[in-house]
């Protein structure tokens, strides 16, 4: 079965599967005390810079929650977009586990701007109002768009001028790097991001995400919060081995480039079809489009994808590391 439903409907990239198989030899210390984990952590440090530190968890929701738990207390608030995954797709995990309040800003394209953020960076009625502590943006956004390096830097500067941290939910951070034709350090470390949730599963892994702290000390309590947060893998080597495969020989880039390029290719084809209106810039591996219901139904039965907003007939079409040109051509020929 093939789909355009989500990049987590795909399986595991063969190179990553091989890495898993190769790691399955003998005994290794549990709970992250093994050589695979140490090597993978060093690999992240070599990419994000010597002041960074990286830890592994199972899910993206966990990465986001544990990233913020270290730098917040329950009386804090976190500023994010109204479409933020931490707000709409984590079943209240952030509030439940950290106690913080989410301050959500409206957005048409998934991005939030310094102008929107500024009025919220300070509490106005201490101690009645939650105290802002983190700005959280998503890169690639939940609407497929990508913040430019300048946009990230501006928000980072705004955060730091006001004593806040900048967190990036990077479930699709590889797609963003490819989209911007840049590398992780330039996009994240050099712009001033403080904490990054680095996505593994959607990039071709079986399971596993990383939390990258870009400044010393920010991960002070991480290991305790992770254990208490039910996210300490006993056989951590199998997360680490996957990340090693993903980050070596630019596999992350190859996977993301395939997904991004094919989203462009598919978007071009779709834009030529009568009645389809693409609603967001295609900057990564997702296409947002308004599609007439009867056509949408025909398309979904050819290869499934999700409605985005049933009221406006808007749909989301996602490509993945394993999407192929041939598959798209077949899809287009079925629906034309």
């Amino acid at each position: 079965m093939r789909s355009f439903a989500s990049d987590n409907w795909s399986g595991v990239h063969p190179v990553i599967m091989d890495a898993i198989i190769n790691a399955n030899v003998g005994h290794h210390a549990a709970y992250g005390d093994d050589d695979y984990t140490k090597y993978a952590q060093e690999l992240f440090r070599s990419i994000f810079g010597p002041e960074s530190s990286t830890h592994f968890v199972f899910t993206g929701t966990a990465a986001n929650v544990l990233a913020l738990e270290n730098v917040s207390r329950s009386f804090n608030s976190v500023i994010c977009s109204e479409h933020a995954h931490i707000h709409v797709d984590e079943c209240g995990a952030m509030e439940k586990h950290t106690g913080v309040k989410l301050i959500t800003l409206p957005t048409e394209n998934g991005k939030i701007t310094p102008e929107q953020i500024l009025p919220h960076v300070k509490s106005e009625r201490y101690p009645h109002q939650s105290e802002p502590v983190v700005i959280s943006i998503t890169q690639v956004t939940e609407l497929g768009t990508v913040y430019t390096l300048e946009e990230i830097k501006e928000i980072a500067d705004l955060a730091h001028e006001n004593g806040l941290y900048l967190h990036v939910d990077g479930a699709r951070i590889s797609n963003a790097a490819v989209s911007l034709n840049t590398d992780f350090k330039t996009m994240i470390t050099d712009t001033g991001v403080d904490i990054l949730s680095f996505g593994g599963t959607k990039a071709g892994m079986m399971f596993g995400e990383a939390v990258v702290f870009l400044k010393p000390g920010l991960d002070k309590y991480f290991e305790l919060y992770r254990k208490q947060g039910m996210q300490l893998a006993s056989k951590t080597r199998f997360i680490a081995a996957q990340f090693i495969a993903l980050l070596t020989k630019d596999l992350w880039k190859e996977n993301a480039k395939n997904a991004n390029d094919l989203a462009q290719y598919l978007a071009e084809k779709l834009s030529n079809i009568e009645g389809i209106e693409i609603t967001q810039k295609v900057e990564s591996n997702g296409i947002w489009a308004i599609i007439p219901p009867s056509l949408a139904e025909k398309m979904q039965s050819a290869q499934f994808f999700y409605p985005w907003d049933e009221k406006t007939n808007e749909y989301r079409i996602m490509t993945s590391w394993d999407t192929s040109k041939k598959e798209i051509d077949a899809f287009i020929s079925k629906i034309s």
Copy 2:
């Protein structure tokens, strides 16, 4: 490297690894909506009975917390042993995520008894005292011992007579079934257990645990708590496929039998060594023994295992699904 450190220092059983590889074909619905997951859930139902329902999570700590979150509110208490994993090895996850208070009972052999439990089943000072809601026992216990079927049934009866639930932390439930020469339904469903944390990782899986609710309705909120609890795997098929392999053709039994038998074999060898005193009945895959420090050091450098209580020179030696007789013979010859 080989060790007697813990059964989670082992890797993945080859049959389970094959199942993972075979599941890595094409796209499958994410978040547990796939056929592997449905099949695995049915398999659990066929084992534990038609009233049961089963859900998958990543870690044992998560299995325990989410098992209890469904049937408790923050003003409740949970009765368990002072050695309970939920009390000493989960960094306070139970308190943090559910708010409940743990009432811990002393025990020499890891088991708690109806006589000990009885005085605690009712709150005496409503509403000042936390209200008991669950009795939680561990099978195999944290000291390697195994509750008999009668012992489990007695505690289940006591729980139900007092309006409480019985939860079993079964991180090593397969080892217990083999030890008792019984099957899961007889040990769990038929004795009246309400909720079981079913261990996968220590039984030879890469990652993944199951929460089995034995009575209808007990899992009413599970999916929401799991998502909020950061434990909903997007590529759930890879947990499901592992459980299918584990539960098919009695692989669980084969793995547990190997570990248990070799613990017996090793214990016998050790008991012949001058100065080593075995302190708990060897009923599963762990050996607790007092060992003179110089000998212990020699043994640990031959094949590592953990100290249990440094004050009394007590150590814990664990076998696993991949321990071999040859390995033990070599170990014994090195230390003799």
Copy 3:
């Protein structure tokens, strides 16, 4: 000192103070097991109907949090206005103590409408999205306006049709009843409200609020949550005695009528002053007005009140049970 800052800058009404003094005789059972408390609870039942039950707490924030904790679980969401006290003025207490997510709706006048609420009453992406469980409105709203009986009933119907509860934050519920020229039962019980936070402190008490559950069973866990929520007064008789005084001989009505009438009187005077623009309907004891900065400063030094929105020069002027016509006349003469 006199002010228009807030109705909690006032002291205690003399009749209520007398009730406190009269309750200070001999010993009475602690923690609400005393005759004052039972009598006060019966008094509430006689007002709100035989299916209602009432419990006392210290603060309005506590009344709101404990009201909702009984009917929610951490994976739930609560729908409210963007100006809701539970959202902007309780330092995240709702999120911290119950774990729920607040879904906030924009409003110009403090009220939310069925049209706004409807799209949010169902979760669209189970189990990824928090499940709505309560609609919470504030009566009198945070902008001084008052929902009509029909408006409350419409929202209650909408709630019940969708399996939700309607909660009313009634910190100024007495002012609302006077404004609508109605009684509590008509406004609350008969419209279908499920849970009411009934304000005492702003109505002339020293401390103490009540949580009124209008339907049987809704308060099932209240006493446990209240004790755990740090809100069980040991000398509860002193809260109960105040409520008895407030609810006997319509003292609540007398106090609210004074405050409301004098807000009208003051608003009329202010509206005659060049440059002052009243921005909300004056329906209770608060006046919202845009005032030129230099005039505002002069007014505040005559009798202090708070800015509401510094960007627009909007201010909030509150009257209280102890505001007098003479005081207003003096104020007006000072600023004219």
Copy 4:
């Protein structure tokens, strides 16, 4: 009605009631921004020393929870006695609100010793075990006994040597000071205590407790946690005025001395009665005694008090600030 049930069955001392009445004049800033509150805070500083800071809350449970919330994170543990009020009488408030785990030590007389505490001051299995952060003792203990100054200092030293804080639950701290014939500064500040819950209600107030931080910086987050913890009184002046009365002219001492002296007097009388066995040293205002059931019943109907342990026929008899010699003589004559 008179009782020996608890010192919170008493009412309010007349001097304190007068202070309340006198504070009921005009308007005062809400939420602690008033002169009464500032004066009371200064009064506490003059008593506990210039490095201390004091904040007011409603209940003893709140004082304990908010005291510890400032210096702990959810992965921490708190060491206390198995009889600690925070463990047995607060319905799990500590776990719910702070997430911490309580480590409880057995005790015959309510006190815990450095020898018992020492093995628990360090986590042994980072990050699997909760990290100790606070030792909490109760003074007067839950069994009526009183730690000596040396005992407090020893525990404080042990705490500080291991990077922990010492918290004192002082619901009856005045009775302890009288019992030791000392003052608050000598007992608390000079022994090295870090945080004190200072009891008001049982000392003769209507409501209100204080949290005293003895070292700079420890209260950094207190105001935010208090607001979020639903404990910020809007009319704070009425708590402050009571504390001013209690702490001025040694009213606290007079009240505690009366209660303590009459407990001694009553204990002496009781010890002369055949069959009554006093089980704890009478060091404050409580008497623990084993009493034959028929006699106990007769005594309780003369003047009510609570059973302590129904299995052993042990009872707790409490005197209060308003207990009189005449009342005790009448009681004794009725039961003799």
